[in-house]
């Protein structure tokens, strides 16, 4: 057999098909028909039904008062009165219309319609529940400002989780990161006497949790869910042990952190409703908005973001293009830890003045829920966190208003809506394709 390298010879003309046409590949595709799904219609239908039975029928036909400003505010706005029952009917009508639209189309509605449905339902719920109170009057400002405060650690937690998950690492350990951040902040701020050192320590503490997560999940490819669950137990035990052994006996030495300053922006803070909600906050509160913006921009508008998303969707493809998959994942997990740590600091440097055992009380799991409900998008995570913060704030406000609605149902809300979200009843929630799968180079 001949093994000599032959010179390039002119080849025979290629046999061509009957009608060469450049666009063949696109033109001769398979026929397509629409795939019908009634899930959104069912979800909306359930909301409409609840709205009908509860908000419209089961209401106490009263005027509900929303206060925009309190006595003593520089600018006063008149209060808003809403008739509960008619409002319930309006909400029901809106939801029913959307449900019918979804049913007729037999597919998902555009995003604005789902947002509208969500807002309508929340508003209907708010009017109804305040209507059940002894004194149906509520300060909208206090409600919203409190919601933002309660949402703050959730936002940081879910953004931290988002940075991990968008690059393909499931982070169940948000709870551990928040808790360890809170712990580190308390100790470091007390010892150093500076809340800023505490803030830095929170970041470092939380990053430490990330280091373990990255080591096990990425380096040793241990199942990411397992590592997350175990880290939560580990950190809970470790901080609990140290709290009981070291922090509690000598609280003045280790557990009386100075607080981060509260910044009230002159003039802007005087704007009714908006002012107290947005411009009268702790440093961490302002940091929260900045972080959401930065993460959003970085994720969708920078090279890092493109690569991060690629690694979370199809790591092998990214690898063949020279993107160092595991190095990027490690970096993002650490970064996610840093962000979650800021949320941890909120507990001991802003909201409570000392660390206590398991003080995050499952917020990490709510942050995870917010991440999923927000569809792995920074703005979505912010909105979902605010919704969940709103729910828990409403829960505490209602206990003063004396309503017959059990507070436990409000506390359940984040979890129930997340279940509905992952079940596809309130819009599709699809995570990064490669999330949870370790990347193994061949």
């Amino acid at each position: 057999m001949s093994t000599t390298a032959s010179q390039p010879t002119s080849h025979a003309p290629a046999p061509r098909g009957p009608a060469p046409d450049a666009d063949l590949a696109t033109s001769a595709a398979n026929r397509a028909v629409g795939v019908r799904t009634y899930r959104p219609a069912i979800g909306l239908g359930i909301l409409a039904l609840v709205s009908f039975l509860v908000f419209a029928l089961h209401t106490s036909a009263r005027e509900v008062q929303f206060r925009f400003s309190e006595t003593g505010d520089a600018v006063r706005l008149p209060d808003m009165e809403v008739a509960a029952a008619p409002f319930g009917w309006v909400v029901t009508a809106v939801l029913a219309a959307l449900a019918v639209a979804a049913g007729v189309r037999a597919r998902a509605l555009p995003r604005w319609a789902m947002v509208l449905a969500g807002l309508a339902f929340v508003a209907g719920f708010l009017v109804w529940i305040v209507g059940t109170a002894q004194t149906p009057s509520i300060s909208l400002t206090a409600l919203l400002a409190g919601s933002v405060a309660l949402a703050t650690p959730l936002v940081f937690g879910s953004l931290g989780g988002l940075l991990c998950e968008r690059s393909g690492v499931v982070n169940i350990a948000i709870e551990a990161q928040l808790l360890f951040g809170a712990f580190s902040a308390a100790v470091a701020a007390t010892v150093s006497g500076s809340p800023w050192v505490g803030l830095l320590a929170a970041v470092l503490g939380s990053v430490l949790v990330s280091v373990v997560l990255a080591l096990f999940a990425i380096r040793y490819r241990v199942n990411q869910v397992i590592v997350g669950v175990v880290l939560n137990v580990l950190v809970s035990g470790l901080t609990g042990f140290l709290f009981a052994t070291v922090l509690q006996p000598s609280a003045e030495l280790f557990n009386s952190p100075p607080r981060l300053p509260h910044v009230r922006i002159p003039l802007l803070a005087e704007i009714p409703v908006v002012g107290p909600v947005l411009f009268d906050q702790s440093v961490i509160g302002y940091l929260m908005y900045a972080t959401v913006a930065v993460v959003w921009f970085a994720l969708y508008r920078t090279r890092w973001g493109l690569r991060t998303r690629a690694v979370g969707e199809h790591p092998k493809a990214a690898d063949t293009l020279g993107v160092p998959v595991n190095a990027l994942r490690v970096r993002n997990v650490l970064l996610g830890g840093a962000v979650a740590g800021l949320g941890g600091a909120f507990y001991t440097l802003v909201s409570v003045s000392a660390f206590t055992r398991d003080m995050t009380a499952g917020s990490g799991y709510i942050a995870l829920a917010a991440l999923i409900f927000g569809r792995w998008n920074p703005v979505g995570a912010l909105l979902a966190s605010l919704l969940f913060g709103f729910a828990s704030n409403l829960e505490s406000i209602l206990s003063f208003l004396d309503t017959p609605v059990p507070s436990q149902f409000l506390a359940m809300l984040p979890y129930v809506v997340t279940i509905l979200a992952v079940a596809g009843l309130v819009g599709r929630s699809r995570g990064p394709a490669a999330s949870g799968e370790p990347y193994v180079k061949e």
Partner: protein
């Protein structure tokens, strides 16, 4: 730029994938790497592309040895690769996919405008018609491949590696790709073209390097005859013969009417298909991968979700039944991919042999498994099918590909069947096992079982078929006789219906009829039982000059003379 692999050896454990391979790719050259599946071509290219590190030997560019620690280095050195399985991120746009890893930035932010402009420019130069803002998952396969090529070109690749680029293309798309390759070469890009398809290789290559079992066994020019190339590639004269008498088929065991399968995204994957298979007959389905054959087999056994139409086996409707019930009606099913669909890798050989039968009386007493009976069954099947396994308790994943496939075949043929459906029954299986499996399939046919085989390998189709069906974009292009020339099958695979390719297609009654008169669908179903079926009753033999038995896998020998 001249690219050279010098004495490259790549070992995986004890297995040597590449053995002292020496290869030079000159500038302005289409250099073909020809070899069988598993001959070591892809491994070699992964070494070249920096995905694998060679065990020994070097990669040299213009005489200078280079060390790639990853694909990034290879790309920086001007090497681009289009992988057999596209490396595209489905939810990204074309521009994002092209930019990835090679992003231009403006300050901190990503500058996709530059990438879009580059894509348009390249599209224009080569006539690609690719929209930079289209989302990749919405694009047809052929266009996705062009995106892959654009990815390499944007990075100024001087050497472009195409790994089995035609596997997913129709003959016509393939011709277009070959034209693009020539255009690229003339524009100065060298191309490494990896393929095992002789016709394409001869049509486009300047130099052909033949690899067998990890070694270079020949370096020839494109004028080399297909016979010679095939002999080099396989190492011995290939003869794929199955002793098989003409089918004695009458009636219709399987009647498929207007079968339609819709995918998740609303694409119609199988589009109103009608055909019959007689008892004791093998209907082989040929066609390029991804034209609905897989969905056909899966729909028959109840594995597809959105199915309409009718499938009747001996007059009993199968659609709507659960897979378990379909199998219980005497349907044997060999799925396309044994490792993902056919076997549970961590289960033992014995367990896999009863995977779909663990409820049968002989293997279960009520809710309890009869472990003794299962072990005994395994022992006899292992002996009968010559399955080489350490023991019947070894995990099946530890067996070689051929033996794994024999486990699947043994399981499916090991019970009384009325219909046997096999998809790619011999993919990745060694020659000895192929012959064995083919013999078993023919034996099953001779027992009077209706057999449906899907294969992308024309040789296999010719070796087994009593009739041949061809699919294109989910539609049945027609059913033709077993001696239909390759060229005609090729045209059908590219979307021409049988009647326009052949003067008359007497082999398909059901499909033909319904195609001609779609309104007579119910009539067609009736006729399946009432009509004694004259055309299939007398299959190919009379009109055919050579009997199927005498044929010797003339795959590319037919292709030796280019088509009209």
């Amino acid at each position: 730029m001249q690219l050279r692999l010098r004495d490259v050896t790549k070992k995986f454990g004890d297995f040597t994938a590449n053995d002292r391979v020496d290869l030079t790719v000159e500038p302005h050259q289409i250099h073909c790497l020809l070899g069988e599946n598993g001959a070591g071509k892809s491994t070699l290219m992964n070494v070249l592309y920096g995905l694998y590190e060679p065990t020994s030997g070097t990669v040299e560019i213009d005489g200078e040895p280079v060390a790639f620690s990853g694909p990034g280095d290879a790309m920086a050195a001007g090497i681009g690769m289009v992988h057999q399985h596209f490396m595209l991120i489905p939810v990204f746009t074309v521009a994002e996919n092209v930019a990835l890893g090679h992003e231009s930035t403006r300050g901190a932010s990503l500058d996709l405008a530059t990438t879009r402009a580059r894509i348009r420019e390249i599209s224009q130069r080569y006539g690609f018609a690719v929209d930079p803002d289209a989302v990749v998952e919405d694009l047809p396969v052929g266009v996705q491949q062009r995106v892959e090529i654009i990815k390499a070109l944007v990075r100024d690749a001087e050497v472009l590696i195409l790994d089995e680029p035609t596997a997913v293309l129709t003959p016509r798309e393939t011709d277009e790709l070959l034209a693009i390759m020539r255009q690229l070469r003339d524009g100065g890009t060298s191309i490494v073209f990896i393929s095992h398809k002789l016709r394409e290789v001869r049509a486009v290559s300047d130099v052909i390097t033949v690899i067998r079992r990890g070694r270079v066994v020949g370096r020839v020019g494109p004028e080399t005859s297909t016979d010679e190339l095939a002999a080099l590639m396989v190492g011995r004269d290939v003869s794929l013969t199955v002793d098989k008498t003409p089918a004695l088929a009458t009636g219709a065991a399987l009647e498929v009417r207007d079968l339609t399968v819709v995918g998740d995204n609303g694409v119609v994957l199988l589009d109103g298909v009608d055909f019959d298979v007689a008892p004791g007959e093998i209907l082989a389905v040929a066609g390029v991968q991804g034209n609905g054959q897989t969905e056909l087999t899966r729909a028959l056994v109840g594995l597809e979700e959105r199915v309409t139409g009718s499938v009747r086996l001996d007059g009993h409707e199968l659609t709507g039944l659960r897979t378990r019930d379909v199998l219980a009606r005497g349907v044997g099913f060999v799925p396309e991919d044994r490792s993902t669909d056919g076997l549970v890798g961590s289960f033992s050989v014995a367990e896999n042999l009863v995977l779909d039968r663990c409820h049968e009386r002989s293997f279960a007493a009520g809710p309890s498994l009869r472990l003794g009976a299962i072990a005994q069954h395994a022992g006899s099947e292992v002996a009968e099918y010559d399955i080489r396994a350490g023991s019947v308790d070894s995990p099946v994943a530890t067996l070689s590909g051929g033996n794994q496939q024999k486990v699947v075949i043994a399981r499916e043929l090991g019970r009384p069947l009325k219909l046997f459906v096999a998809s790619q029954p011999t993919r990745g299986v060694d020659v000895g096992s192929i012959e064995f499996i083919h013999e078993r399939i023919v034996a099953e046919r001779d027992k009077g079982t209706a057999v449906l085989i899907v294969s992308t390998e024309l040789d296999e189709v010719y070796a087994l078929a009593d009739r041949i069906a061809v699919f294109f974009h989910g539609r049945l292009m027609g059913i033709v006789g077993p001696d239909t020339p390759r060229e005609a099958l090729g045209r059908m695979m590219a979307g021409e219906p049988a009647e326009s390719v052949l003067p008359a297609a007497p082999w398909d009654h059901a499909g033909d009829d319904d195609a001609a008169a779609p309104g007579t669908l119910s009539g067609g179903t009736d006729r399946g039982t009432t009509n004694p079926l004259p055309p299939t009753a007398a299959p190919p033999t009379p009109s055919e000059p050579t009997s199927p038995t005498g044929r010797t896998a003339p795959a590319d020998r037919h292709e030796g003379n280019p088509t009209a």
